[in-house]
């Protein structure tokens, strides 16, 4: 049997395991979906109520679409981030981490399986939420560049895979609280990346940090496609930047993960479960 076939079987193990986890914890999945949906609705209703809040006439439909794009894209990116960062946390919770780390499967293979699942799961989940949300609001995406939006989203996915790997080292380093620490990483990205407001409204020092967040470029690019209908050719620099950042973060993530895994094996941190 070739090494490639063996590694692909290994990658599929993680896809199948994660699908089984969704099936077995379907109640939790439902609760999580309702939470995400109500969150997206609540944020979008802020746009609907802007005229009433400010007492001035504004383009409500534009604001609603602006917020909805932010809410849905963040929903998709955060699903990828959490699905990958939880690849260690799940093993900690179930106590199986030693068996997975003992198996003859390389960490990149582990990552490929988890990433393929995360992207598929993120797309399905976001489409379900989108399908429900459009029933609540009248959206006008007539002039949108959907093809460009998909391209931006794929570039953004690469970046978030890298961020997910970096965050996955936290449960490896801190068995008890590592998984919760990843929430702080996601919250910081949400704050600085202009998900619900233009980055320019942030203090200058936060804008500087925002310039290194891949989410900033994904959200900006998606709005340019969906709200302004910018042609794909104009979006290519953003796509290349996202892929560039993504690859850099993935390699950095793999390097850090390998280092931390070795540290965990030296210090005996694989044994303790959270």
């Amino acid at each position: 049997m070739s090494r490639f076939v063996r590694e692909m079987r290994g990658a599929y193990a993680f896809i199948e395991r994660n699908v089984n986890l969704i099936k077995r914890y379907w109640g939790w999945e439902l609760v999580w979906l309702i939470y995400s949906l109500t969150n997206a609705l609540a944020i979008t209703y802020i746009g609907n109520g802007m005229s009433a809040i400010s007492g001035t006439e504004i383009d409500t439909q534009y604001v609603v679409t602006y917020l909805l794009v932010g809410a849905l894209i963040w929903q998709y990116l955060s699903v990828i981030f959490y699905a990958i960062s939880e690849m260690i946390a799940w093993e900690r919770w179930e106590g199986t981490i030693e068996y997975t780390f003992m198996a003859p499967v390389s960490r990149p293979t582990h990552l490929v399986g988890t990433t393929l699942f995360a992207i598929g799961y993120g797309i399905v989940r976001t489409l379900v939420i989108l399908g429900i949300v459009v029933a609540f609001f009248r959206l006008n995406l007539g002039g949108a560049n959907i093809g460009g939006a998909v391209l931006i989203l794929l570039g953004g996915s690469v970046s978030f895979v890298g961020l997910g790997i970096l965050a996955a080292v936290l449960p490896l380093l801190y068995p008890e609280r590592g998984a919760q620490m990843t929430n702080a990483v996601a919250a910081i990205l949400l704050l600085i990346s202009g998900v619900y407001y233009p980055v320019e409204t942030l203090p200058t020092w936060l804008q500087t940090i925002a310039s290194v967040s891949p989410a900033t470029y994904v959200i900006r690019g998606m709005r340019a496609c969906l709200l302004e209908g910018r042609p794909t050719i104009e979006l290519l620099p953003t796509v290349f930047r996202l892929v560039g950042i993504g690859l850099a973060v993935i390699f950095a993530g793999l390097f850090v993960f390998r280092y931390v895994e070795r540290y965990a094996k030296r210090s005996g941190r694989l044994k303790r479960s959270g």
């Binding site: 290994g10 199948e16 089984n20 077995r24 179930e94 030693e98 003992m102 198996a103 003859p104 094996k265």
Partner: protein, 287 residues
Amino acid sequence: MTTQGLERVIAGERALEVEQVRKVFVRRDRKKGEKRTRFGRRKKEHVTALEGIDLRVSRGKVFGVLGPNGSGKSTLIRLVSTLLLPDAGAIRVFGHDIAKDPFAVKRMINRVSVDAAFFKKFSPIENLMYAARLYGLEAKQARAKMREIMKRLGLEEESFDQPMEHMSRGMQQKVAVARGFLTSPILLLLDEPTTGLDPHSKRDVQGFVREIRETHDATVLLTTHDMEEADRLCHQIAIIDRGRIVALDTPEGLKALVPSEDGAATTLEDVFIKLTGHEFEDEEASK
């Protein structure tokens, strides 16, 4: 430590070589009256789990490791499993160093530990299929093999698709044993595999260990609290205490170290108590 043991190692291919292995853990545990650093952190405490461990296991043999709780048995198994890295010394599995070539080692080993760790909401089949895929096994063959092993271990077929959380501790442990055997390892690491099993199940597992050794030419490293099990299965036994080997020999060789009392034949338990100063039942009770 008896030196005869090391000298009596049966000639042949070395399945496992452990050379002068040392493992120390750093802890910051809470203690009454503990000292703290200037910055309020608990001071580090160095706990030596293994010190200068030396052993060699020939291919196809069952090597037992006996010792009180906290003596370093599980640390040794984790080191060979590539889950820990030694602070000093070297461990080789069929010539492959666990630190330098862990991937090659992982393909040759599997482990059954006392804590049957599974995805508790998954069925035995789902858990074993996950393990099979991680080891690159073909799904159809793996499914047939896992059913065969589980039946052989006395698991009811109706339980194959039930969530693990609904199974008894003993049944879960049998699935853990099946997971260890599924990938046909040539070095099988058994860390108290029969703890918690009823006598009948114990015999099933012990019979299967013997069978896999004979039919598959597997080598077994076994830690156990069951002296009869060690006596029945092991070709050689090391007794470790406080991270050091205090005796290493065949079961008969170890028994010869302790003179019989009241005319009764010396048992491994007598040897264990004599060499470690621990009552075995106390150790079991303190678990």
